[in-house]
């Protein structure tokens, strides 16, 4: 046993310096982006796209915490985006516009929802867990569509972004960008420390073999539940930011398709590395944004009408691309970066 553990640990440690480069490059890129955006001329567009990338990066990382480290496939994580978003929207509509109140309320609501649904969901295993988290997500989605006072199906527009201690600092897209980057960094540092702690090791133990963890004296349920709550709160934070970014909240925040997209981001980037989830979110959103143009460019040999038609139906390329990535690129983007080292 110990021998096996040592042989497995060896390549891990030799990988370490290389893998640490990725998050540093990633955050450096996010920090440098506003400067490049200013130079590009279309800074509003670039900033809002990258802000979205960072917000979904937080949400995907939150999901990676339980999916990558706990093997808990939550198919209802978009619900937490909705909780965060609606906490901001509902409080703002009652005149409470300060983020210093909104964010704690959103985090508390997310934690409560995660605690209750997690306690029920974690009694089930495998496919049933996927389905019950999906059901809770749908429950919240329908609750949001029936909130007639807060826009119902159509959602609600925020009159402005949240205040921070009374100041309107977030109105500036640049300031908001930095706040999102700060949140992303904070969430990353926090998740990293959670994963590296004793708690994180137990969680990974339950991923590998829950029965064995129980046999050596840990209760997997408690650790999984705490991880689920932490993950829900981080996703709730992303929801607060998303509502502020769009200045709009609607039930569309928490459709099950959105939950599926979050899972896809995590898997696309590579499970269980945290920064992989951010890379995955970036790849997903950028692909979604630019695939129509890419298709238009690639099909230069076709007629104009066909090219426009192709660009319009980009999802017909996106879907199969998804399938191919699942079938052939195991380990996601981080897996591809890692591969030369093994070979």
């Amino acid at each position: 046993m110990t021998e096996l553990a040592e042989t497995q640990a060896a390549p891990m440690s030799s990988l370490r310096p290389r893998l640490k480069i990725v998050p540093i490059v990633l955050f450096a890129a996010f920090a440098a982006a506003p400067l490049l955006a200013m130079a590009s001329g279309a800074e509003g567009y670039v900033l809002s796209l990258l802000t979205r990338v960072m917000i979904f990066g937080i949400a995907a990382m939150a999901l990676d915490l339980i999916l990558g480290y706990g093997a808990l496939v939550s198919f209802g994580h978009a619900a937490f985006l909705g909780i965060g978003g609606y906490a901001v929207g509902i409080l703002a509509s009652h005149g409470v516009e300060d983020a210093l109140v909104q964010v704690p309320v959103a985090l508390a609501a997310s934690a409560l929802f995660a605690l209750v649904t997690g306690a029920i969901s974690l009694r089930t295993k495998g496919v049933y867990f996927i389905m019950i988290t999906l059901a809770f997500g749908q429950m919240l989605y329908f609750l949001a569509t029936s909130l007639a006072a807060y826009g119902g199906d159509d959602g609600m527009t925020l009159s402005s972004r949240s205040l921070v201690a009374g100041s309107r600092i977030l109105e500036s897209d640049f300031a908001f960008y930095w706040v999102c980057l700060l949140c992303l960094l904070g969430a990353y540092a926090f998740s990293r420390s959670v994963v590296a702690s004793r708690f994180g090791r137990v969680l990974r133990g339950t991923r590998e073999n829950a029965v064995r963890m129980e046999a050596i004296g840990f209760q997997p349920f408690r650790f999984q539940l705490v991880a689920y709550v932490v993950s829900g709160m981080l996703a709730g934070l992303a929801g607060c930011l998303l509502a502020n970014q769009a200045e709009f909240v609607s039930p569309a925040f928490m459709t099950w398709q959105r939950s599926g997209e979050l899972i896809f981001m995590v898997v696309l980037g590579g499970l269980g590395s945290l920064h992989g989830a951010i890379v995955g979110a970036a790849a997903f959103l950028l692909l979604e944004e630019f695939l129509p143009e890419i298709l238009h460019g690639l099909s230069f040999f076709l007629g104009d009408a066909t090219r426009a038609h192709l660009a319009e139906n980009w999802k017909m390329v996106f879907g199969p691309l998804l399938i191919l990535i699942v079938l052939f690129a195991r380990g996601g983007i981080m897996g591809l970066l890692r591969r030369p080292h093994h070979g």
Binding site: T117, V127, Y128, F142, L143, S146, V267, P320, L322, I323
Partner: protein, 306 residues
């Protein structure tokens, strides 16, 4: 007034439940036998509806359209199996969820590409149009009764097929232990294909039957897929009997709940609050129901013994 309304809503619920059963039956078998999560099952329902719409426009007759749509839906299901799903059986659930999610994206856009984004409508067949009086002064559309009848017939056929034929026996054995069935010399790959194609055809049939009463549009399978998952999870994955009972329960709870939740709440709340909460609560009922079932029976009402 309330008794007749309840009766009509119960009929609607029964009709909805049977449609759900047609979709859930294939899903639960694919799930049970192959341990395969097929999110793309909902788009097969959509494809069935589109096929019948296209064939009805071409032949001008719903009957012919249905006859042509069924084998087409079967062929389409088999095609998907060979192209995509076959490569996913030995992957984990996460990969299956993602790849079939990709199939949904592709096909939802695909039908838009072929038939346009605008909803299509299919005329109710001449023979079954109109309404009949089922109680004094109470009219009910004949076509909805026809859906109920068709659903019950298919359910009975399915029961006979699964419980009293050799293929059915293999399917049940596969749901209990696929590896053992394979070890006993059954071509499990072929069994998978049969189950898959058959499930796709049932979903297509459900889509074809509802095409005249719903609008045929891209994404119409997405929400019903989730309901079908709720059904099979409540019923116990792999159990046809469980799927049947759970489908009827969900159909009734959803339909009756939507029209009666506000009324019931009025007994304990004041009218304005009751209608508000009732409208909020009604669509959530089935999910609350599912959570409750799973809380007490974590593997559904009729778990398949392994």
């Amino acid at each position: 007034m309330n008794a007749t309304l309840l009766f009509v809503q119960a009929l609607n619920g029964l009709q909805f439940g049977l449609i759900l059963f047609l979709i859930a039956a294939g899903l639960t078998l694919v799930f049970g036998v192959m341990d395969f999560i097929n999110l793309a099952h909902g788009v097969q329902y959509m494809v069935g509806a589109y096929l019948v719409a296209a064939f009805a426009a071409w032949t001008g007759s719903f009957g012919w359209a249905l006859l042509l749509a069924l084998p087409s839906a079967l062929a389409f299901g088999l095609l998907l199996e060979v192209l995509v799903f076959r490569h996913l059986y030995d992957r984990d659930h996460l990969d299956q969820v993602l790849a079939t999610f990709g199939v949904i994206l592709f096909l939802n856009q695909g039908v838009k590409f072929v038939w346009g984004a605008a909803p299509l409508s299919v005329p109710v067949p001449e023979l079954l149009s109109g309404s009949i009086e089922i109680a004094s002064g109470l009219l009910y559309p004949v076509y909805r009764l026809a859906i109920i009848a068709a659903g019950l017939v298919v359910a009975a056929l399915l029961y006979a097929l699964v419980n009293h034929t050799r293929v059915g026996m293999l399917v049940r054995a596969g749901a209990s232990n696929a590896a053992m069935v394979s070890a006993l010399g059954v071509n499990i790959q072929r069994l998978f294909m049969v189950v898959f194609g058959f499930g796709a055809m049932l979903a297509g049939f459900a889509g074809a039957m509802v095409a005249p009463i719903l609008s045929v549009e891209p994404g119409m399978g997405d929400n019903i897929l989730i309901l079908a998952f709720v059904v099979i999870v409540i019923g116990g994955i792999g159990s046809i009997r469980g799927a049947f009972l759970a489908a009827l329960l969900i159909g009734l709870v959803d339909t009756v709940g939507r029209s009666f939740a506000p009324n019931l709440l009025r007994l304990v709340l004041d009218p304005a609050a009751a209608s508000q909460t009732g409208r909020a609560l009604a669509p959530m009922l089935i999910y609350i129901f599912m959570a409750a079932v799973l809380f007490f029976r974590p593997s559904g009402l009729f778990p398949v013994k392994r």
